[in-house]
């Protein structure tokens, strides 16, 4: 593994540049972004690789004695970010009705075995409470059925707004549903400049130039 390549920095990058690139990548592959995603493990692997690369580079730096400010414990390498399980974020496990069934459904979801999870959730004796709605919502999310996923997760959140899992899923879905305010790309294709561009392109076309 070439750590410079993994972090996308040049071989004579400064420590600050390396750290900036590292933080950028951690944000990009942050486990929170991939919680309910079928590619969760892939994202976890990627993050692991990034952590390793960062550790290699910072260790090298501290060995040569220049700076040790962000040693190996500066990285997101505590391991908690890489574990791919659906452990409860709020610590207390679900203990309501059908606890055993829901736990099994959760573990099937973790293995990306959506059919098995669905079979359990569709069972005749299973109560349709907040937990049920949440789990069904995650199944829909991983399957790519976002309209139903949103309905289920909203319902779970409405039924029990204090649960951290439900709230996180609800908030992250809302975040990706609202358009990004990514770097102001909102208005340049409506700017007058672009109109001139298109006018020029039209002209170019008419004159037998280089247009599509």
């Amino acid at each position: 593994m070439n750590p410079y390549k993994v972090l996308g920095v040049s071989e004579n990058a400064t420590q600050e540049e390396i750290r900036a690139a590292y933080l950028e990548l951690v944000k990009k592959y942050h486990p929170d972004k991939y919680t309910d995603n079928p590619l969760k493990e892939l994202a976890g692997e990627k993050l692991k690789e990034i952590n390793q690369a960062y550790e290699m580079l910072t260790k090298k730096q501290s060995a040569s004695g220049s700076s040790g400010a962000y040693g190996s414990n500066g990285g997101y390498s505590s391991g908690s970010y890489n574990s791919g399980s659906y452990s409860r974020t709020n610590g207390s496990a679900y203990s309501g009705p059908n606890a055993a069934e829901f736990a099994r459904a959760r573990s099937y979801i973790n293995q990306n075995n959506l059919n098995a999870a669905r079979t359990i959730l569709d069972g005749a004796n299973v109560v349709h409470n907040a937990e049920w709605n949440y789990l069904y919502g995650v199944v829909y999310l991983r399957q790519g059925w976002y309209e139903k996923a949103y309905a289920c997760i909203s319902k779970a959140y409405e039924m029990n707004p204090n649960n951290a899992d439900y709230r996180n899923a609800y908030v992250s879905l809302n975040n990706s549903g609202r358009a990004y305010s990514r770097g102001g790309n909102g208005d340049f294709d409506a700017s007058p400049c672009c109109d001139i561009c298109s006018a020029l392109m039209c002209l170019n076309c008419c004159c037998g130039g280089d247009c599509f």
Partner: protein
């Protein structure tokens, strides 16, 4: 296909734009060579994207300056050399154009669709022989979509899922796809397919209402805000998958399509603006579709 997957041209570097055009021309030439001149009319932007994407992922494309037969008045320009990626994009283009024509035929019963389907028939046969699994997946998708249409399902999940599966199959059976990238690519293309279906359905609402054709947005009465919300989630998922694909070196053209082009197309369709008058009605709140 539908032509929604394209870059935001005014943000492309000159060489990226040349690269994009070279792929577009390359696929066009590949269709001509593999199927015949008339089938080149079925060329779509989406196939150019597929060729560019596969080239970025695998063997990098090389370019040669050349002329365009039908546009002989134009000077020479770079054209992507024949490659497995170009050929596959050409095959996919023919197959999808055939199914699209079939779908139009069912919806509109217009002379144009009858003619284009008839013209594409021999090419489609040839393409299906080259990629039997893909043809089968397409057939299954169309079959399922017709069932959903007959049942008048009012949710967007089911119908958009069918086209998502189709595009996932398109990338799954690409001969040049590295095995390590398969999962992420499939999720990316699944979401792209869903997005294309949804945006096309939104775009066709008026026409479908007039024709009495199936459209999930009409059936559910979903408003623009909610539709934009779903489209955003779908694109965000496609981007998340794209982030996990190792394209080395990072292709500026693909970056542009994935981060800017698709969102720009979506903005235009949701705001119901034609491409050419984008400058005349500035959006009220920038960058936010809701």
């Amino acid at each position: 296909m539908f032509g929604y997957i394209r870059p935001l041209e005014c943000e492309l570097k000159v060489r990226e734009q040349q690269e994009y055009r070279a792929h577009y021309c390359g696929v066009c030439k590949a269709i001509g060579k593999r199927y015949g001149q008339i089938d080149r009319l079925a060329l779509s932007y989406d196939a150019a994207f597929l060729a560019a994407f596969l080239s970025a992922l695998g063997t990098k494309a090389s370019f040669t300056r050349g002329n365009c037969g039908p546009r002989c008045y134009r000077g020479k320009r770079p054209i992507a050399d024949p490659s497995a990626a170009q050929d596959y994009a050409a095959d996919v283009n023919v197959l999808l154009a055939w199914y699209k024509a079939g779908d139009d035929l069912l919806d509109e019963k217009k002379v144009v669709s009858v003619a284009s389907r008839a013209a594409l028939r021999p090419a489609r046969k040839k393409a299906a022989r080259r990629h039997p699994e893909l043809d089968e997946a397409l057939n299954a998708g169309v079959e399922r979509l017709h069932e959903i249409e007959r049942a008048e399902v009012s949710s967007t999940d089911e119908p958009s899922d069918t086209f998502g599966q189709v595009l996932a199959a398109v990338i799954r059976f690409a001969p040049t796809l590295p095995e390590t990238e398969r999962r992420a690519c499939e999720w990316m293309f699944y979401n792209l397919g869903k997005w294309v279906y949804l945006i096309d359905a939104w775009d066709d609402r008026e026409k479908d209402e007039k024709d009495g054709a199936y459209n999930p947005f009409l059936l559910s009465g979903m408003q623009r805000d909610a539709a934009g919300f779903l489209l955003n989630i779908t694109l965000a998922e496609a981007e998340k998958a794209y982030d996990l694909i190792s394209i080395d070196p990072r292709s500026g053209l693909i970056e542009n399509i994935m981060r800017l082009g698709l969102r720009s197309v979506q903005r235009r369709v949701l705001q119901q603006e034609g491409c050419c008058n984008a400058g005349q009605t500035p959006p009220t709140d920038k960058g936010d579709i809701r």
